[in-house]
Symmetry: C2
Subunit: 219 residues, 2 copies
């Protein structure tokens, strides 16, 4: 099993840990509900194979896909660990496979048995939650921009910061980028072309270079 949550925990210690968490291995068929929206929030999950989707239906019946998790990723942990009584979302199988369902109690209260790897597990969970936090903050910050232009520039700035360079490579196709920025694809392309024409960015497929108004290109 390859999963950030259990990093550094192997063999017998892992088995013990899984017992402590009350792990249950379940098979998932496409379309099957893993956690129901409004259901009692008692467990979180790890995708062993296949994929799950996190969705939400609002008061008016509109359904939104919030995220998709693949192998090794965990889902539902935030709700359980935040002490929420019910899941505000639905988790459903998107591609058939297996998942591990885990109870969160050992992460919320002192483990009475003090399993050997317990400390490591909580540290891993902290790292996972902190990482998700950073990514969510980044996304919220980008979506806070009002215009497509500003969203593009905010996103490029973000990638440039991560890369540590003015040059960056988009991890998305145009359609995926538009979905990530929550804007219309064609309108986004128009804006992207405008930014190019104005010399704000240089674009070539997925390669983007920022600024360079002073001609420091050769660097």
């Amino acid at each position: 099993m390859k999963c950030a949550l259990f990093e550094g925990i192997e063999g017998e210690a892992l088995e013990e840990m899984l017992r402590c968490l009350g792990a249950k291995r379940v098979a998932m068929e496409r379309g099957q509900t893993v956690f129901a929206q409004g259901g009692a929030a008692r467990q979180f999950g790890v995708v062993l194979s296949g994929a799950v989707q996190v969705r939400q239906t609002d008061y008016f019946g509109n359904q939104t896909i919030l995220a998709q998790m693949g192998e090794g990723e965990i889902f539902g942990e935030a709700f359980v660990l935040a002490g929420m009584e019910r899941y505000p979302v639905e988790v459903a199988c998107q591609a058939r496979g297996e998942a591990l369902l885990l109870g969160a109690e050992p992460l919320r209260a002192a483990c009475p048995r003090a399993c050997a790897s317990h400390a490591r597990l909580t540290q891993n969970m902290i790292a996972v939650l902190a990482g998700k936090n950073v990514r969510l903050m980044t996304k919220a910050r980008i979506l806070s921009r009002r215009t497509t232009r500003e969203k593009l520039l905010a996103y490029f700035s973000q990638l440039a910061r991560e890369t540590g360079s003015r040059r960056l490579r988009l991890p998305f196709s145009r359609q995926e980028l538009a979905d990530y920025l929550c804007v219309d694809r064609s309108a986004m392309t128009v804006e992207l072309m405008r930014l190019r024409d104005e010399g704000v960015v240089r674009v070539e497929g997925r390669e983007v270079a920022l600024g360079a108004p002073e001609g420091e290109e050769g660097g």
Copy 2:
């Protein structure tokens, strides 16, 4: 000290915990930088009094206010705990007061001294991170909607879910609500009036009631 991070830790145990975290108490004057953007991410903080703002300056020099933290709230923890080398944001004092600066090592690795309340601290941190996670997810979900109308309805749905009722009370003034939804205030008011005229919602000041097309008002 009133702070979710140290809930259940008091007296001598708290003192010991603070020593273990290398706590430093610092006075802050308005405008003073607590953590510098791009600076080495080694510590996180707790606001003891006053307030701090989290800001970010992007590649093009545009500054954005991301959040404001008041008494008892913690800041910067996500970056340190996610193992980032540098702060991607700046934290600055917004209202004079005091803060506690803490090292994160005891939360990232096994505490060699195994302080008594260590387990409790990590549990608290997990709860804090999970709670922030849920709130960030909520915000990202709302901002994912493209139109002002959809943002309003998504936000109302969210509040209705939290309240468990069709009736809800906005925690914001109109301007604050517009800022939260990242839209123009006047355009938002127009859309809000339209929703009212269409009978989708009933609005009266900060009081909002959803739907009720079947006249279940009296319930």
